[in-house]
C-alpha cells in the first residue's frame, strides 16, 4: 500500500483538474464547480489514505518517490512526507473543498469567469501539496515560487476594490524573499559540492556539516523568505492588504495554508540544516515573535475592517508559532505544528464567516454592522465558535496548541513566555470587541437600514465603547421600522462551516491522534538542532539541588 504514489497523485490530480476546468467553455460554471469539488474531495480522500498508510513510528520520510530531474545539478523530483508535512496535507485536503463550497455562489468581478477562479484554486492546491511534499530543496524552491502565480491571480482578478495593489504587494514581497532564498539554495548546493557530490536532497544536506559562519548567511537567506511568508513583524504589512482584498476563499487558503509554508520552512529547513545558526539567532527571532504577538494583537484591536482585523490576528498567531519553533523543545514545537493546523481551521472558519457576513451587508467595516445575533443566530453562533477558537478557549483546538507552545517554552525561555502569555488577554479583547460590535446590541448600520450617516459610521475603531454603551443606548430607542432582515445561514453555508466547527471541537477535546503523528518528526527536528527530543526535564530549582550545588 505504501508503494502507492499518494503524493504524486495528490499533485497530479488537482493539476489535471485545473487544466480541465480551465479548458471548459465560458458559461459552464456549474460543471466547473462540480468538477472542482469532486477533484478536491479526491485529494482529501488521498490525504486520508496517505495518513492511514503512514507509520508514525517508522522512518522520518515516508511515501517517498524520486525521479531524477536535472541530473547535472543533482536535482530530483523527490517527494516524501514526515508527520509535520502530512498534517499540513490533511489541512489542505480539508480546506480546499470547504473553500470551493464557500465560493460556490460568488459572483465574478467584472468580465472574469468563475471557471477560471476554480481552475486557479485547483492549481494552487497542486502546488501547495508539492511545497509540503518536496524533499528536494530545489524542488521546494520551485513550488515555493510557483505558488505565487495562482494566488496572484486569485487576488488580482477576483479580489476587492484595491486588489491590484494588494496582489502586486503580495507578489513583490514574496518574490524578494524567494530570490534571497534562491541565493541561499545555490549556496547550499555549493557547500555540498565542496564536501563531495553536490546535491539538493534534504537528507544529504542534513547530514553534512556546514561552517558556522556560512551557516549564518544561509540561515538568514532562508529565514527572510520564511519570515516574509509567515509573516513575522516587521515583514507583515503585505498580509493585511492581501487578506483584506483577496476573495474569501483565497484569503482562507492564503492565511490557512500558504503562510504556513513559512513556519513549515523554519522547522524543515532552518533548524535541521543550520542548527548552529538557529541557536545563535534564536533570541532575536524569539524577540520578533513575541513582539509580533503583542504588536499585531494591539493593531487588530485598532482595525475597522473585519478582514484586516482577522489578518492581523493571524500575524499574532504566527508569533506564537514562531515562539514554539525557536525555543527548541519537543513540547513547544509539537504545539507549534499543531498550531499551524489549528490556526488553518480556526482562522479559516473566521474568514469564511466574516465573508458570509460581508456577503449579507456588502461592507467590510465593523461599524456598518450591529445586532446581527438577534436576526441570524446560527451565523452568530458560528462566528462565536470561530472567534473562541481564535482566542484559544479550552475546548477548541487552538487551546491545545497554544497551551503546548507556552508550556513548552516556559522552561527554557520564561521571560519571552510570560510576555507572550499576556497576548491571550489581548486575543480575548480583539475577538470579543469585533463580536460585540457586529453581533450584539441593537440592529444598526447596514443591518438596521438607517442611521448610516451617524457618527458611528465614521468612528475610528479602537477598544472604545466600554463605558456603558451610552451612545448605543441612544440608538436603541430609535429602532428602525424599516430594519432589513438579515437572512441566517443557508444550507450550503452550514454545510461549508460545519466540518470546520466539528474539527475545531473534536481536535480540542481529543488532539492526541494528531500529536502522535507530529511528535516523531518534531523530535527528530529538535535533536537535529541539539535540543533534547525527550522533552523538558524538571528544573533543578529545588532546595535539595541547591544544597548539592552549594557543596
Amino acid at each position: 500500500m505504501s508503494d502507492f504514489p499518494f503524493l504524486l497523485l495528490m499533485i497530479a490530480v488537482p493539476a489535471v483538474g485545473a487544466a480541465v476546468v480551465a479548458a471548459l467553455p465560458r458559461g459552464r460554471d456549474l460543471l466547473a464547480k462540480q468538477i472542482s469539488l469532486g477533484v478536491s474531495l479526491v485529494v482529501l480522500l488521498l490525504a486520508v489514505l496517505a495518513t492511514v498508510a503512514f507509520d508514525a513510528g517508522g522512518d522520518r520520510f515516508q511515501l517517498t518517490s524520486s525521479v531524477s530531474w536535472i541530473e547535472d545539478f543533482g536535482v530530483s523530483f523527490a517527494l516524501g512526507v514526515d508527520g509535520i508535512a502530512l498534517v499540513m496535507l490533511l489541512l489542505i485536503g480539508v480546506l480546499v473543498p470547504v473553500v470551493i463550497g464557500a465560493s460556490w455562489d460568488d459572483e465574478p468581478v467584472g468580465t472574469r469567469s468563475m471557471t477560471v477562479f476554480f481552475a486557479w484554486i485547483l492549481l494552487l492546491e497542486a502546488l501547495m501539496v508539492g511545497v509540503f511534499a518536496a524533499t528536494d530543496v530545489f524542488l521546494f524552491y520551485v513550488f515555493f515560487e510557483a505558488m505565487l502565480v495562482p494566488m496572484y491571480f486569485l487576488i488580482g482578478s477576483f479580489g476587492g476594490p484595491r486588489r491590484q495593489y494588494a496582489a502586486v504587494k503580495f507578489f513583490l514581497y514574496s518574490l524578494v524573499g524567494g530570490l534571497i532564498m534562491l541565493a541561499a539554495v545555490i549556496g547550499l548546493y555549493v557547500v555540498s559540492a565542496n564536501q563531495g557530490e553536490g546535491s539538493f536532497a534534504f537528507e544529504v544536506l542534513n547530514a553534512i556539516d556546514i561552517d558556522p559562519d556560512v551557516q549564518k548567511l544561509l540561515f538568514l537567506g532562508f529565514f527572510v523568505a520564511f519570515a516574509i511568508k509567515a509573516p513575522l513583524v516587521p515583514f507583515h504589512t503585505w498580509l493585511p492588504d492581501a487578506g483584506a482584498e483577496a476573495p474569501v476563499g483565497g484569503a482562507v487558503l492564503l492565511v490557512g495554508v500558504l503562510d504556513k509554508v513559512g513556519t513549515f520552512g523554519f522547522l524543515r529547513y532552518c533548524l535541521p540544516l543550520f542548527p548552529d545558526a538557529s541557536r545563535d539567532f534564536a533570541p532575536y527571532v524569539l524577540a520578533l515573535a513575541v513582539a509580533g504577538v503583542l504588536y499585531a494583537a494591539l493593531l487588530a484591536m485598532g482595525q475597522s475592517d473585519m478582514k484586516r482585523l482577522v489578518s492581523y490576528t493571524s500575524v499574532a498567531h504566527f508569533g506564537f508559532i514562531a515562539l514554539g519553533i525557536f525555543v527548541f523543545t519537543t513540547e513547544a514545537a509539537t504545539g507549534a505544528v499543531l498550531y499551524m493546523v489549528n490556526h488553518g481551521l480556526a482562522t479559516g472558519l473566521l474568514f469564511l464567516v466574516v465573508g458570509m457576513l460581508i456577503a449579507r451587508g456588502g461592507s467590510r467595516r465593523i461599524s456598518d454592522y450591529g445586532g446581527v445575533a438577534a436576526q441570524a443566530p446560527v451565523l452568530a453562533g458560528v462566528f462565536l465558535v470561530a472567534g473562541l477558537a481564535s482566542l484559544a478557549l479550552p475546548g477548541t483546538n487552538s487551546f491545545v496548541s497554544e497551551f503546548l507552545v507556552l508550556v513548552g517554552s516556559y522552561p527554557s525561555r520564561p521571560v519571552f513566555t510570560i510576555v507572550a502569555t499576556v497576548g491571550i488577554i489581548l486575543a480575548a479583547l480583539y475577538v470579543l470587541l469585533m463580536y460585540q460590535r457586529t453581533m450584539h446590541g441593537p440592529a444598526r448600520g447596514l443591518m438596521g437600514g438607517h442611521d448610516l450617516a451617524t457618527p458611528d459610521g465614521g468612528e475610528p475603531a479602537g477598544p472604545a465603547g466600554d463605558t456603558g454603551g451610552a451612545t448605543a443606548t441612544a440608538t436603541v430607542t430609535a429602532a428602525p421600522a424599516t430594519a432589513r432582515r438579515v437572512p441566517d445561514l443557508s444550507r450550503r453555508e452550514i454545510a461549508v462551516a460545519s466540518p470546520l466547527v466539528a474539527l475545531i471541537i473534536v481536535l480540542g477535546v481529543y488532539p492526541q491522534p494528531l500529536i502522535d503523528l507530529i511528535e516523531p518528526a518534531v523530535a527528530a527536528t529538535i535533536s537535529d538542532v541539539g535540543g533534547d527530543p525527550g522533552g523538558a526535564e524538571p528544573q533543578a530549582d529545588t532546595d535539595a539541588a541547591r544544597t548539592e550545588a552549594g557543596n
Binding site: 494591539l298 482595525q303 479550552p394 516556559y410 460585540q436 466600554d466 492526541q512 523530535a523 527530543p533 535539595a544
Partner: protein
C-alpha cells in the same frame, strides 16, 4: 492520602459532566425542534446528575477516587490525562453545583417562560454546569483550567443573553476580559509547575512541591491567587461581578453567587498543600480577602439596584471565604462550609430578587419598590429567611459558618489576628446594615411603584408561579438548616479530613461564646443603624445628590471602574491608535516609500530619453571619445 482507582458507581462519575454537556449539545444543535421540551431536558440532565453525585458521595467512604478517561495531551515529557478525582472536597462541590443548579433550572422554567430564546438559555445553563463540574472534578490543573475557562464562556454567554442591550453585551465582555487577566495567572502557575516539577496533576504536584525553593512556591501561590481573584471577583479584579448582574437573574443566582464565583476558593483550598508551604502567599490571600470583604460591604451599602447590592454582598462574602482559606489549615473547612451555606442563602436571595423583579416589571431600583411584603408573601418569607441567614442571625446558617471564620481569624493571635478579626466583625455589621436597608426598601414602607418606562402601566405586583416559588422555599430551608447541619450534625471538617487533614481543636484567644455574643451584638447594631437611617424615614424616589464623600465613593464602588479605565483602558486605546498609525505610516510607509522611491527615480532617469536621434548619437560619440581617451591614457601611462 493515596488515591484509589474508581470502582462501581464511582467509575461512572464522568456521567456527571457528560449528561449536562449532552443536554447542551442537543439543545444547541437541535434548533427550534427542541423548543417545546428543551427546558425539561435541560432540567432533567442536571437533576439526574444530582442523583448520581449523591450516590457517588455516599459510596465514597473517605476515599479519594481517580477515574481515568483518556489521554488528552502526551508529548515530550508533558502528559495530561483527562482524568477525574472524586474526593470529599469535589463531592461537596459536585453536590452544591448539581443541587442548586437543578433548583435554579426549575426556577428558570418559570422565570424565562415568556422569553423566545428559553431553549438556548437552558443550553447555556447546562453548558455551565458541565464546565463547572469539570472544574471541580478534574484531577489536574489543566483540566481545572479547561473547566475554568469553560465556566467563563458560559458566564459570557449568559450575561450577554439579552444581547440586544448594549449594557449586557458590554458587561459580558468585561467579565470575560477581567477573567482572562486572572486566567493568565493560572496559566503561568501551570507553566511554573511543569517547568519545576514536570507534572501538572494534583497528585504529582502536591507530592513533590515540598522539594521546591520557597520563592518558587510563593510565586506559584501568588499566580494561583491571581487566577482565583479573577474568577471570584476579588480585589483588584472585582469590578466585573456587579456588572454581570445584567444577565437574567437565575444566572446571577447560579453562576454569580452560588457556584462559579466560588471557584477561586475551591482553587486555593484544592491547592492547600502549596499554600501550606508559603506563608507569604497565604498572607496575601488574607489581605485580599480582608480588603475585598470591606470593599464589597461598603459598596453594598450605597447601591439602589437590588441585584447590585446582592452582587457586592457576594463579593464581600467571598472575601470572608478568602480570609478563611488564607488562614491555612484551620480555615479551609470553615471556608468551604461558608461557601456551601452562602450558596444556599445567596442563591435563595437572588431567586427572591428575581421574583420581585418579575412582579415589578423587571425593575431593579429599590427606591421604586416598597411595601411588597403583603403582595409577595412567599417571596417575602423565603427572602427574609435568606436575609437572616446572611446577616448571621443566631442559629441560622450564616451564624454558624461566618462565626467560625471570625473565630479562626481571631485565633490567629497577635496584631494580625486582631486586625483581621476586627475587619471580619466590622464586615458583619456592615452586612447587617446593607441587607436590612435592602429589606426595608423592598418589602416595607410605602409603595413607591412607578411604570418601568414612560407609557407603560404601573406594575401590579403578583406572586410568582409555584415553579418559581418551590425552589425558593427549598433554598430557604437550606438557608435555615444548612449551617447547623454542617457544623453540628454532620461536621464538614471531618468529612473533608481526607483532603485537609484531621480537624483539631484550636487554642482560642477569646472564648467562642464571647465572640458569638460580640458578633451578634455588632449585627444588631447594624440592623438598628439601617432602621434609623432608612426605616424610620421616607425613602426618596430619586437618590439624593447632596451626600457625603464617603457615600459618593461607595456609590462608585470606591472608583474601581474609574481606576481601571484611566489605568488600562485609556492608555490601551491610545496605544492602539498610536500603533495603528505607526504600522500604516511607519512600517508599511517604509515599504511603500521604497516602492515609490524606486518608481520616482526610474521615471526621472527616463526623462533622459528625449527621442531625438541626434542626442543619442551625441551620447555614443561622447562614450566613444571617453573610451578612446581612457585607452590612450592607459597605454600612454
Amino acid at each position: 492520602m493515596d488515591t484509589v482507582p474508581a470502582d462501581g458507581l464511582l467509575s461512572a462519575s464522568w456521567l456527571l459532566i457528560a449528561l449536562p454537556l449532552a443536554g447542551a449539545a442537543v439543545l444547541l444543535l437541535g434548533g427550534r425542534r427542541t423548543d417545546r421540551w428543551g427546558h425539561l431536558l435541560g432540567t432533567a440532565t442536571v437533576a439526574i446528575a444530582f442523583v448520581i453525585a449523591l450516590a457517588c458521595a455516599f459510596s465514597l467512604d473517605d476515599r479519594q477516587v481517580a477515574v481515568h478517561l483518556f489521554t488528552f495531551i502526551d508529548t515530550g515529557s508533558l502528559e495530561v490525562d483527562a482524568g477525574l478525582l472524586f474526593d470529599p472536597l469535589s463531592a461537596v462541590f459536585a453536590l452544591l453545583i448539581t443541587g442548586v443548579g437543578a433548583l435554579i433550572h426549575v426556577y428558570s422554567i418559570g422565570y424565562m417562560a415568556h422569553d423566545p430564546r428559553r431553549r438556548r438559555f437552558f443550553a447555556y445553563l447546562n453548558l455551565f454546569v458541565a464546565a463547572m463540574l469539570l472544574l471541580v472534578l478534574g484531577d489536574n490543573y489543566v483540566a481545572l483550567y479547561v473547566g475554568w475557562e469553560g465556566v467563563g464562556l458560559a458566564s459570557y454567554l449568559l450575561i450577554a443573553f439579552w444581547h440586544e442591550r448594549p449594557a449586557a453585551a458590554t458587561a459580558a465582555k468585561k467579565a470575560f476580559i477581567m477573567n482572562r487577566v486572572g486566567d493568565v495567572g493560572l496559566a503561568l502557575a501551570i507553566f511554573v509547575m511543569f517547568a519545576q516539577l514536570g507534572t501538572v496533576t494534583y497528585e504529582g504536584v502536591f507530592g513533590s512541591v515540598g522539594l521546591l525553593a520557597g520563592g518558587t512556591v510563593t510565586a506559584i501561590g501568588l499566580l494561583l491567587l491571581l487566577g482565583a481573584c479573577g474568577k471570584s471577583g476579588q480585589f483588584p479584579l472585582q469590578a466585573w461581578l456587579p456588572d454581570a448582574m445584567e444577565g437574567p437573574t437565575p444566572v446571577s443566582a447560579l453562576i454569580h453567587a452560588a457556584t462559579m464565583v466560588t471557584a477561586g476558593v475551591y482553587l486555593i483550598a484544592r491547592s492547600a498543600p502549596i499554600y501550606d508551604l508559603t506563608e507569604t502567599a497565604r498572607t496575601v490571600v488574607l489581605v485580599v480577602g480582608a480588603v475585598t470583604l470591606m470593599i464589597g460591604a461598603i459598596a453594598g451599602c450605597a447601591y439602589d439596584d437590588i441585584k447590585k447590592v446582592l452582587a457586592y454582598s457576594t463579593v464581600s462574602q467571598i472575601g470572608y471565604m478568602f480570609l478563611a482559606v488564607g488562614l491555612g489549615p484551620v480555615g479551609y473547612a470553615a471556608a468551604i462550609a461558608h461557601l456551601l451555606t452562602h450558596g444556599f442563602f445567596k442563591a435563595g436571595l437572588f431567586l427572591g430578587a428575581g421574583s420581585v423583579m418579575h412582579a415589578m416589571d423587571d425593575q431593579v431600583d429599590m427606591r421604586r419598590f416598597g411595601g411588597l411584603a403583603r403582595k409577595l408573601p412567599i417571596t417575602f418569607v423565603t427572602f427574609g429567611l435568606g436575609y437572616l441567614a446572611l446577616i448571621g442571625f443566631p442559629f441560622l446558617s450564616g451564624y454558624w459558618t461566618k462565626d467560625a471564620i471570625i473565630e479562626a481569624a481571631l485565633d490567629r493571635g497577635g496584631v494580625s489576628g486582631w486586625v483581621l478579626g476586627g475587619v471580619a466583625v466590622l464586615g458583619a455589621g456592615l452586612t447587617a446594615f446593607y441587607m436590612t436597608r435592602l429589606m426595608l426598601m423592598t418589602f416595607f414602607g410605602r409603595a413607591r411603584w412607578a411604570p418601568s418606562a414612560p407609557g407603560r402601566p404601573a406594575p401590579h405586583p403578583h406572586e410568582s408561579p409555584s415553579v418559581m416559588t418551590v425552589p425558593m422555599v427549598v433554598l430557604s430551608v437550606g438557608s435555615v438548616a444548612a449551617g447547623f447541619l454542617l457544623v453540628q450534625v454532620f461536621p464538614l471538617d471531618e468529612w473533608l479530613a481526607p483532603v485537609f487533614g484531621e480537624p483539631h481543636e484550636a487554642e482560642h484567644v477569646i472564648a467562642p461564646a464571647v465572640v458569638a455574643t460580640v458578633v451578634t451584638a455588632v449585627m444588631v447594631l447594624g440592623v438598628l443603624a439601617a432602621w434609623l437611617f432608612v426605616g424610620r424615614r421616607e425613602v426618596p424616589v430619586v437618590a439624593p445628590e447632596r451626600v457625603s464623600v464617603v457615600t459618593r465613593a461607595a456609590r462608585k464602588a470606591l472608583y474601581a471602574d474609574a481606576i481601571n479605565e484611566s489605568l488600562f483602558m485609556r492608555p490601551g486605546q491610545w496605544l492602539t491608535r498610536a500603533l495603528v498609525w505607526v504600522d500604516n505610516r511607519g512600517v508599511d510607509g517604509a515599504v511603500n516609500g521604497l516602492a515609490a522611491g524606486l518608481g520616482g527615480s526610474s521615471s526621472r532617469l527616463g526623462r533622459a530619453q528625449t527621442g531625438f536621434v541626434r542626442t543619442y548619437a551625441m551620447g555614443m560619440l561622447g562614450g566613444a571619445v571617453l573610451v578612446a581617451g581612457a585607452l590612450l591614457a592607459v597605454t600612454a601611462g
